[in-house]
Symmetry: C2
Subunit: 278 residues, 2 copies
């Protein structure tokens, strides 16, 4: 793959890259379609990265379907599907990691210690192998996007990071490979995430500036659903992820909720009156 | 620099790279001459990297002489001398680092916590900017070379790491920018490092297999010199840097000694009978 990437770069052509953990859904496919318009070649990778899972997390039961993935990726315009083996990317004695000091100390990083170290390390490795001019990540994993953007700037990677909008089911549920674990009743409960985000967005658009009021509203909504457990609800600065005290500028509301045993995350931007983009 | 490097790579030409902290001496120049034979273009950098100095170390008094360095580098065949500013490489809010778990937990890493994190981070940044096909490091900083080799493999850098032999004064003292801090009498005491390494090499060539005997001999030699303080004396595996219990294979002897207030390091390979290279 690295040789192939180098040959493409030498020929003066460009590479766009979409790294994934497979079990592709419409969210991934939209990233791929987005990426295919950016460059001459579209590379996607499928690798369930062990270093970003905690000891009590769902690595072994993470869903996989390599054949279906390959067909879907080809349909979405992927020229090169890179599917490395774990023992090639993490041979015995592997010991080098990429870390951050501040950004992981927020949101998902707090309940998933080591998660973003694993993400930064695998993204560094994949960037070195795939040598992309552009890399596309979904805004659904908002903190991941922020962390990767920061790493790319801090470590002088020659890759442009592009965020692509969250793709949702018709009823608003954000697409995720983990949605398949939801039972029918949990699938209904899971809608509360998007409902809270939409209600929050409305409140801020109508002038609410107190994050605590929005968070309390959301807590009540979520706790009213059976089998839910809140991990976090935060309203924060889109770059630093620090909590916002007064919503005077566009902020991101992010939340993580366990529905049954499935942990779901979602986020939306909140725009105070007059701050809407475009 | 990054654009220039990309243009060179696109043209099908190759880049060799020698990163330095400046105040160039014959050791650096020999790395540069070595590197200039490897590739079409030779890039050297001069940057006194703050993140590899501890809070009580000699960052502010590290010697600098940019004009002399530029002349010497040009003479040694450097095509592009890259001299970035600190605020460009470490802007406010910088927070991404490259770390290792095992190798820094040896030798210099023990007395210089965070040192190799700083080294790995700056080398990653410089590699991303300079995009070298080859990078040359001196064997004098043996642990540094081991740590960088491991990082390059672990993180899939597309750069070949090349170690170049230590250059010595005619009396055996390893060249170092820090030698300039030695008074006349300390300069004489400093010879004890090379004397111990040479004696150790002789002992092992003649059949000594017990590292402890060699280390005790060296301790006695060094303590007999005025104004010396041993940081470490180790005989270890050249890749893992783990202490060797029996010298049955080629091993590296490494030592760090303060002479006056100047910390000096040096190392040599020890070859049991029949294991000499070539």
């Amino acid at each position: 793959m690295q040789h192939r990437a180098e040959r493409i770069r030498k020929s003066g052509q460009t590479i766009a890259f979409v790294p994934t953990m497979g079990y592709l859904h419409k969210g991934h496919l939209s990233l791929m379609v987005h990426a295919s318009n950016l460059a001459d070649h579209l590379v996607a990778s499928i690798f369930v990265n062990p270093t970003q899972f905690g000891p009590n997390e769902d690595l072994s039961k993470y869903p996989r379907d390599p054949e279906r993935d390959a067909a879907l990726a080809a349909e979405a315009g992927v020229d090169i599907l890179f599917t490395p083996h774990e023992k090639d990317l993490y041979p015995a004695g592997f010991e080098t990691f990429v870390t951050q000091e501040a950004l992981p100390d927020h949101l998902c990083g707090l309940s998933r210690p080591g998660h973003f170290r694993g993400v930064l390390t695998i993204v560094t490795k994949l960037f070195h192998i795939v040598k992309p001019h552009f890399a596309v990540f979904g805004e659904k994993d908002f903190q991941q996007l922020a962390v990767i953007r920061k790493m790319t700037a801090d470590l002088n990677f020659d890759t442009e990071i592009i965020g692509a909008p969250t793709i949702r089911e018709s009823d608003g549920l954000a697409m995720s490979s983990r949605n398949k674990f939801l039972s029918e009743s949990h699938r209904k409960s899971a809608l509360v995430l998007y409902r809270c985000l939409t209600e929050a967005r409305r409140m801020v658009a109508e002038g609410e500036t107190d994050p605590q009021k929005i968070i309390k509203m959301s807590e009540a909504e979520i706790n009213a659903e059976a089998d839910t457990a809140i991990d976090y609800i935060a309203i924060c600065h889109p770059d630093t992820l620090d909590d916002v005290r007064v919503i005077g500028q566009p902020a991101v509301m992010a939340l993580a909720v366990k529905v049954g045993s499935t942990r779901l995350i979602d986020n939306r931007m909140l725009f105070p009156p007059g701050s809407e983009p475009g």
